[in-house]
Symmetry: C4
Subunit: 198 residues, 4 copies
């Protein structure tokens, strides 16, 4: 089985998630800058953060399936499991926003991020087991970003009990780490091509 | 006619259905765990169940069109008929949720599941009739899951009149049966390749 | 330019339109069959009708681009023009529904159908002009369905001033005409293949 | 890396954006033409304008990636950056509409258009740097439309302080400029084919 339809479906789900979140931004009641700020101040920031997270997942997903082209039933379900947690982003984002970054919503947002990270890790494991999965394992190498992220999420969840905004700082930090372009897959594919031609 | 655009359109519709359901989860009124529970207690469970059902349909649909690559007008409309019933999932899911699993909504949810199963069966029949449809027939074999599911749905609909939660148990049971990976198509394709090479 | 991305984008838009309409179905206030009927009685019928219309447009669009594989700027915009009118279906459907099939909404729904039909016709003309457009012209032949539909839409708009339900009958009649599978393109492609091989 | 999945994801996001905007059109309270006008008078115009803008971006995006087929991490993120600003169109469109074209919303709408134009320009720059990016540079040539648009957006933002409707006139003017089909890419590809065959 090729991965093309799995990618198409995932693209569709991620495209809807990333766009549906904007529906949670309330149109301001009034015409002033103040009304805009009241309606979207925190909302726009949490929207931006969640948009970046979905973007990161899409980008990583895209890279992962560039290397792993064969999928089986386990990969299908590991992928749906990941999409499930990502599909809750609009909900947990909206709650953080509407509560004005309160403690429980900040914890729940962190748990959602953590669950998505775990689901992504399980998807990697499922691909490792398919034929050709070794290529992905070689391409990813040490994967320090993947190992560091859960530590930050857990720190964020813990810090939310002290001050919810500190949790958001942790979540933003992880996004920053991933925003730095990840060239492992590109380098691996380039090396592979180099090896086969040279 | 190839099936690629039919698959792309179906992927799009299923991707929207699966994501639109999360819009029915209400953002909690308040910042506490209690508020989260009040807002989503049952909602999250019904959301999860419907997410799994759409995932099962996507996965089966994907497998089916791996074997059946030629489509005609009858297949197009049988497919749209299936998508119609699946598109009502967000509605019937929301009603079960908002009613706190009351009797009529549990019956309607079961009828929706049953109608989708019948539509899926009709789609299979439509594919059987196309050129190359025999391949799908061979791949599916006895199809005991497809035959057992309607029995469970009907039992669920009946049990809803005794106790709505028993209906939900039936619906969850069917989902569990399908979650066990279905290797018929994969095995068939592997055997076919084996036969043609050996 | 090939038509593949135009088809993918159109599929995406049609998939969202067809699914977004279900969001206009209100979850019943109450757990009874009566509440379901109050909330969705007319709504479910108008939803079904609009679902069928979007399905017809998708199916015809799919057939049309099977024959016409080359697109230019004029085709791109003629296609966006068609998608614009189709994107208003959720709005005009919801108004017919919420008004309980009143006169003005029934007229507006008919105007929307008529505008979409005109846009589809303009898209056909734009494709006729591209290289290879003659193939589509040959495949479509007399196109009596395309010529009859506007007559029915105009009759529906006129009859809405007498009795809005009569307008709906006209709109349903057109849908029935198109539901009968349209084999022109399939036959044409089969004949073409036959001609080139025999 | 090929651009096909980036295009598919962008198509998905743009398809959702263009369709989600229609959800902001409120169903009229009443059955009369007056009620329709009250509910959608300005709304339909702003919807049409935003629909045309998303159509223009889709069409340009489509042309751009016809020439630039190789993408790297920088292109991925430049593309997501563009999608972010486009995803705010439903929000800023709804605010212009609900405020009845007031000053601040008209300014915010212009800022949104300007930000999208800047993001599009950055995406072009990112593609110029990839292997094969020179082809896009040659195809685009002087790009006077791309240079003129920001001037109009800034004029619109300025004029909004005098009279918000003048801002809308500027935004409509830019849309008109782009609606005239842009044949640069088509001509370039035709010339390239001509050059390689003749």
């Amino acid at each position: 089985m090729t991965s093309s339809r799995l990618e198409a479906f995932s693209d569709g789900v991620l495209a809807v998630i990333i766009t549906v979140m904007v529906l949670e931004l309330h149109v301001p009641h009034g015409d002033s800058v103040q009304a805009l700020w009241d309606a979207t101040g925190v909302g726009l920031l949490t929207y931006l953060l969640s948009f970046v997270y979905v973007g990161i997942y899409w980008s990583n997903h895209h890279h992962m399936f560039q290397v792993a082209e064969h999928v089986d039933g386990a990969v299908l379900w590991a992928n749906l499991h990941l999409l499930f947690w990502l599909s809750l982003f609009p909900f947990s984002t909206a709650w953080v926003d509407e509560s004005g970054v309160a403690r429980t919503p900040a914890v729940v947002y962190g748990v959602n991020l953590l669950a998505a990270a775990v689901a992504y890790y399980l998807l990697q494991l499922a691909i490792f087991r398919t034929t050709g999965g070794d290529r992905l394992r070689s391409a990813l190498g040490g994967d320090w970003k993947g190992k560091l992220s859960p530590v930050f999420y857990l720190s964020g969840i813990g810090l939310a009990f002290v001050e919810p905004w500190l949790a958001e700082v942790c979540y933003v930090a992880v996004a920053m780490i991933w925003l730095v372009p990840d060239r492992r897959v590109e380098r691996y594919l380039a090396a592979e091509r180099g090896g086969s031609t040279g």
